[in-house]
């Protein structure tokens, strides 16, 4: 709960900074504030700070249990890295304070989504996260691509919201409560039987949340929005928004509807298999790096959904947490390089822009290579262990064919990740000028690379939740 208060406070402070003109001081204050949020959330997880009146089920709306606290830490780490990486995004734009405030308010939505104990808060969290994202996707006002991304995201996002809301209404209609533990008590009772209204409600809820995590066949918005939005915003959508949405998705079954993944396993299998194949196969034909990352993120969602299918297993939530952490850090590193390279080549973010990157800047080339190898699932990197954990659970549950399909799909993935790696090392660059990056950017790149390598070798992220 403290995290929500601090970050919302920072958001209001940012808006005030615009009015009272102390914008120069703003970035250090925001970074310090996010650092403090991270520190507090870690101390809360350890139990050094306990604010029991606030943390235990605030008015039966938000419940900061261990799951929520761990995801709050992950989300804060992602946001902190994001602000450090995109420091200059807020310096370039004329109205940087508004954009920063929108990001901070979106963070509040993300925190609500990982800690809700009431369907009302789930709905509000999703909306608080989505509405700033609609604005940010269109934040390049004169670019037609950015406009199109914003309008598409808005129209499809609100449509999903409508479906989601009707799903909640139908579940309320059968259960008589929005409180997730009441719903859980009723659905686990022996006399409980599936009614058509309840089934339709659950299916609507699953479809709307699949839309929010951009899993196929609800993925149509993702490639357009990811490639049209400014690169900084895309990296926020691919990491923070996706992690909070997938956490909200699994928390729904973790708290309210534990029987659903078993009873509706066919729906999840369709979501998983289609995400894996559509994501990986269409990515092969992409020439734009951001679109490629969008399709790659769809395939990663396919892997993450495996954990939702088997969330009742002891390691299910752990595997999801590790996957989300590994995926987010890797994506942040990849987008940081894409952003720097695209800025150097006048906004050209096609794969050809990476030709001969190793000669222009070895550090950028190395980071992007490590990130791509990790996403492809090459053994010592964190991406491999993330996929291994997921497949191990599926295998232990006897879903042998699902494991085979997942491995086939990620073999296709290796092809297009290596396309970028090959472009970096053997491509002939149009411009031979070396890319200059600041000392701070070098440090961030090195930290991200070390995290990608180190997270898999050391099990503490896996054991945290």
């Amino acid at each position: 709960m403290n995290e929500i208060i601090i970050v919302a406070g920072l958001g209001i402070l940012t808006l005030l900074a615009e009015i009272f003109n102390f914008k120069k001081l703003l970035m250090p204050v925001i970074i310090a504030g996010l650092g403090a949020t991270l520190l507090i959330s870690i101390l809360e997880l350890q139990g050094s700070i306990s604010n029991s009146a606030m943390d235990a089920n605030v008015l039966s709306m938000l419940d900061f249990d261990r799951f929520a606290k761990c995801f709050v830490i992950l989300l804060t780490v992602i946001a902190l890295f994001w602000v450090l990486i995109n420091y200059n995004y807020f310096l370039d734009e004329s109205s940087r304070a508004d954009h920063l405030a929108l990001i901070l308010f979106a963070m509040v939505g993300g925190y609500c989504m990982v800690s809700y104990s009431n369907f009302v808060m789930l709905f509000l969290g999703i909306e608080i996260l989505s509405i700033p994202m609609y604005v940010l996707a269109g934040s390049k006002k004169n670019s037609l691509r950015s406009n199109e991304a914003a309008l598409k995201y808005f129209l499809m996002g609100s449509f999903a919201t409508g479906v989601f809301l009707f799903g909640i209404t139908l579940i309320y209609g059968t259960m008589g409560s929005f409180y997730v533990y009441d719903v859980r008590a009723k659905t686990t009772a022996t006399e409980f039987a599936l009614t058509p209204m309840f089934t339709v409600g659950v299916v609507m809820l699953i479809s709307a949340l699949s839309f929010k995590v951009s899993s196929a066949p609800f993925h149509f918005w993702a490639p357009d929005v990811y490639s049209g939005a400014p690169t900084s915003v895309t990296s926020f959508m691919a990491t923070f928004v996706k992690t909070s949405a997938i956490a909200a998705f699994i928390r729904l079954f973790y708290t309210a509807l534990p029987f659903v993944p078993d009873n509706f396993s066919r729906i999840f299998v369709v979501l998983i298999v289609s995400s894996l194949f559509i994501g990986n196969i269409i990515a092969v034909f992409q020439t734009n790096a951001k679109r490629l990352m969008a399709y790659s993120s769809i395939s990663h969602v396919g892997f993450m959904l495996i954990a939702i299918l088997f969330f009742t297993q002891a390691t299910g939530v752990k595997a999801l947490y590790f996957y989300a952490a590994a995926y987010s850090i890797t994506t942040l590193a990849a987008f940081m390089v894409i952003k720097i390279v695209a800025e150097q080549s006048e906004g050209n973010d096609n794969i050809s822009a990476f030709n001969g990157l190793v000669k222009r800047n070895p550090l950028l080339a190395g980071t992007l290579t490590i990130a791509m190898l990790s996403m492809a699932g090459i053994p010592p990197l964190s991406g491999f262990f993330a996929k291994y954990n997921m497949l191990f659970i599926a295998l232990s549950q006897g879903y042998f064919w699902l494991v085979i399909l997942a491995i086939l799909a990620s073999l296709v993935g290796v092809y297009y990740y290596f396309k970028i790696v090959i472009a970096i090392f053997t491509g002939v660059s149009v411009s031979t000028s070396s890319i200059q990056i600041s000392f701070a950017q070098k440090i961030i790149l090195i930290i991200l690379t070390l995290l990608i390598i180190g997270m898999g070798l050391n099990g503490w992220v896996f054991e945290m939740i």
């Binding site: 509000l124 509405i131 604005v135 914003a150 309008l151 479906v163 809301l165 009707f166 929005f178």
Partner: protein, 105 residues
């Protein structure tokens, strides 16, 4: 009031499902962004109506409070949406969503 109490819950569910379907079909079928906005509003409002009906049926005021939340969120969403639409209109001089075809496979 007496007449309203006499209407069974099933009728409300049916009415709201029809309203929701009209909204959903409108979103999928219409090509004008403003009409799509209105169809989305129809979808949200069908949920509102159903929530109030359930709230009366269960004698539980939580749902009616939720309706206010939904109204506030819908207002925020539409204000953002109209701003985005204005921005698009300035660049393309149309509200037809078929004009948006720069981002393609």
């Amino acid at each position: 009031m007496e007449i309203i109490k006499g209407i069974p819950l099933t009728s409300y569910i049916l009415l709201c499902s029809i309203l929701f379907s009209i909204g959903a079909i409108g979103v999928l079928y219409r090509r004008n962004a403003l009409v799509i906005f209105m169809c989305i509003e129809l979808m949200l409002n069908s949920s509102n109506l159903l929530l109030v009906a359930f709230s009366r049926y269960f004698s539980d005021t939580n749902a009616q409070v939720f309706v206010f939340f939904i109204m506030a969120v819908a207002a925020a969403e539409v204000s953002v949406g109209l701003a985005i639409l204005m921005m698009v209109y300035r660049n393309t001089k149309t509200t037809d969503i078929d004009a948006l075809n720069k981002l393609k496979f």
